[in-house]
Symmetry: C2
Subunit: 244 residues, 2 copies
Amino acid sequence: MDQNSLPPIQTTARDDAVLKALVGFVSAEALRPGERLPTERILAERLKVSRNTVREALTRWEGLGLVERRQGSGTYLKAAVSPDMLHLPLTLAGGNDFTSLMQTLEIRRALEAEAAALCAERASPADMTEIERKLDIMEQAFRTRDGMSSEEDWEFHQAIYRVSGNPLFEQIIAAMHELFHRFWEHPLGVRDFGHASFPYHRTIYERIAARDPQGARAEALKLIATVEDDLKRGAAKLKFLGQT
Amino acid sequence: MDQNSLPPIQTTARDDAVLKALVGFVSAEALRPGERLPTERILAERLKVSRNTVREALTRWEGLGLVERRQGSGTYLKAAVSPDMLHLPLTLAGGNDFTSLMQTLEIRRALEAEAAALCAERASPADMTEIERKLDIMEQAFRTRDGMSSEEDWEFHQAIYRVSGNPLFEQIIAAMHELFHRFWEHPLGVRDFGHASFPYHRTIYERIAARDPQGARAEALKLIATVEDDLKRGAAKLKFLGQT
DNA sequence: AGTGGTCCAATGGTCCAACCAATTTCTACA
DNA sequence: TGTAGAAATTGGTTGGACCATTGGACCACT
């Protein structure tokens, strides 16, 4: 039997309907991020549903990062809303241990390489200027403080993601960045952590400037490889010292 | 059930506290996906919180795909829950259009290549047997139906993600698979959609079997490239016909 | 033994009315 | 005119009620 010939019927879908109505409202009113939505009480009255139902719908949107609620103030739009959005809720089993850090690094390696390659294909002259500016700032910070600067480093990489033309790169890696950051603060006792990765920032930039996707991909892979090496050294050191 | 695994929560930040308490409960009871959570009324009573607050917390979890609620039956765990989860709500603007499909394909290309490379490094003999089995099934289905079979094809790729040793690959791509699937059903009028990618499944397998990470990476990139080409052809065709 | 029907308790879904807590706005006083 | 305090606004929480669906128990009939 064809499985699709008997789809489950849809009986009740109150809050989904509320969501749909909200999408329609935001579109009709042309609300832009930062603007305030009607109050829950007004929405409940207009949509002829209880305030509880409105709240469930808004809770969903809040979970998706589409909306921010401020008690006493109101509910504010945080991102553009369109009728044909697609949501991919991901929950990663994170953690601070060596294994999960390596796993997130593997994901980052994959995305970093691809973003660099796409960047090399698509960067406009203006884009290149912007990336070079971020690179200069990063190198300057490196020389001044004689060490990797996670903040300027991160901005350089973000610029590449942005120029890649695919917002998903930045979204995914940004979500994992918190994890990296937490870890960056305590570099496992490896004093020169991140030093090895420094030169590859410029080589990546050069490959992008040369419109060489494969070269950019290769350099990005080398960069992440050095970070992985540092991570492994740190883990080995901790293990040697008997820590977890 | 252990009474002490659901202690009353502290004041302020109610629903976040409820979520934290729920995480603790699931951990303490070692609940596995598919098992049923306590009813909302019981949770409300144990946590000394109103049922509405419990519902808001569960709505969050439902939005994250962690939990499924069935009226009249109960609330069921859909995924493993750990205290240090990382939530990553991705929102794609535009559902079925060409741009967002290409964007997800770019992500998939990145992850597919990396997973194949890792797979080539880490696959055990048993793993290789499993992958080859999936490959045979897929090729069999291809010859029988004279066309790509999204189901068997998907299983082959999943096997690779699994053998890569990094669950994040499967999680991220699985989250996007729904999009691919919806699209696969309506291949944009390209009759032989996916045909071109067929031979690369075996070449990927061969590179993995040969313990050749770079080769596996290259073959995976070729596979996705054929899919992208099909997608572009389909988009051009639609544009030619004046559709959207 | 199996089939279908009926009933009933459990459970999530919705609603209401009130109050709490944070924020904003208005107002009266110095 | 400036500012502290009152009042209104708004999201957060509570408790209670009822509805819709589910799934098991029980029963009559074949």
